[in-house]
């Protein structure tokens, strides 16, 4: 389990990793630990897979991928794992999940493809469909992005409504 201090460190690393000579020392000052202690905890998060890696996210990275489709599949229960794994093995599939169904909504496997055109998305879906032998699927194209952000882990307000900006 993560302690309060771990949560603080994670918040710091996620939202305001310092651009300075000794970033872990600065984080240490903020949370009340030594540089060595912070650095060794970060190495531990990496080892445990909690932290995938450090890095920067840039603006405008998806330029060129104009069509993004979510492909929704209806897969027989006993084939979900196999189909999910097989879909995930395709390079053009960027995300793939098994999700619970809902009343009137029998679809249970979801994957994403990003392409230059819609036709390319349809082609990809046909190829995937043939490969996994599932014919019951459809594509959902996004037409507008309303929010796209990284999660603010352990945010004090994550259980609540944030500030609604009116107007």
């Amino acid at each position: 389990m993560l302690s309060e201090i771990d949560k603080q460190i994670i918040r710091e690393i996620q939202s305001r990793f310092p651009i300075t000579e000794r970033p872990f020392a600065v984080i240490g000052e903020r949370v009340g630990l030594s540089e060595e202690e912070v650095f060794s905890r970060v190495q531990q998060y990496l080892k445990e897979g909690k932290l995938k890696r450090l890095g920067a996210a840039l603006k405008h990275q998806r330029v060129g991928y104009l069509a993004n489709a979510m492909i929704v599949w209806r897969v027989p229960e006993d084939r979900i794992d196999q189909v999910g794994e097989q879909l995930a093995s395709f390079e053009e599939v960027t995300h793939c999940y098994h999700r619970a169904t809902a009343p009137g909504w029998p679809f249970n496997v979801y994957c994403m493809v990003h392409k230059h055109t819609r036709e390319e998305c349809y082609e990809a879906a046909r190829r995937l469909s043939e490969a996994v032998g599932i014919k019951d699927y459809f594509l959902l194209f996004s037409t507008r992005e309303l929010k796209r952000t990284s999660m603010s882990y352990f945010h004090p307000k994550e259980k609540e409504k944030g500030d609604v900006q009116l107007g």
């Binding site: 650095f39 909690k50 890095g55 995300h95 979801y110 996004s142 307000k157």
Partner: protein, 155 residues
């Protein structure tokens, strides 16, 4: 932005060193001084080329569970509903998709109970009549490259 900036951006995106002095390690690779690397990165962050710098976490291993929600929102109410849905910290992604369920958003929380509570609250606050709650059962793939560029962390 010059050639050095571009090279540095590649490094800072994909090969950020896990070291006590990470920027000194980058400087050595680039044949620059640590001071120059810091100055360039600070500027790239200030002008918004670098959107975020820091850790990319595995939400599941931090204890989070996630769901995808699909809502039927009348076209005339999309902006109003989006303002309310997006105001939740737990909502990380929200897209309009071409379907009768037209608003698709992701929610993360530290337990299934918490997740259901937040989803129910959003439904009520935003005045959504028809909403599908499609919790993730298993993750087969999250492409790290898209993760980072997006944000990462769609559930």
């Amino acid at each position: 932005m010059d050639k050095v900036d571009r090279k540095l951006l590649n490094l800072v995106q994909w090969e950020f060193p896990v070291a006590v002095r990470p920027y000194a390690v980058m400087a050595e690779k680039m044949g620059l001084t640590e001071e120059e690397v810091l100055a360039r990165l600070t500027r790239l962050k200030e002008i918004g080329i670098i959107r975020r710098l820091g850790g990319i976490f595995n939400s599941r291993k931090l204890g989070y569970v996630g769901t995808l929600c699909a809502a039927k929102v009348p076209p005339g109410r999309v902006d109003e509903v989006a303002r309310i849905v997006n105001s939740y910290v737990a909502v990380t992604h929200n897209y309009i998709r071409e379907h009768e369920y037209n608003m698709w958003f992701t929610v993360l929380a530290l337990s299934w109970e918490e997740l259901d509570r937040i989803v129910a609250e959003i439904k009520e606050q935003a005045g959504i009549e028809h909403l599908l709650n499609l919790p993730a059962q298993r993750m087969f793939k999250v492409n790290v490259h898209f993760e980072v560029t997006e944000v990462q962390d769609a559930e």
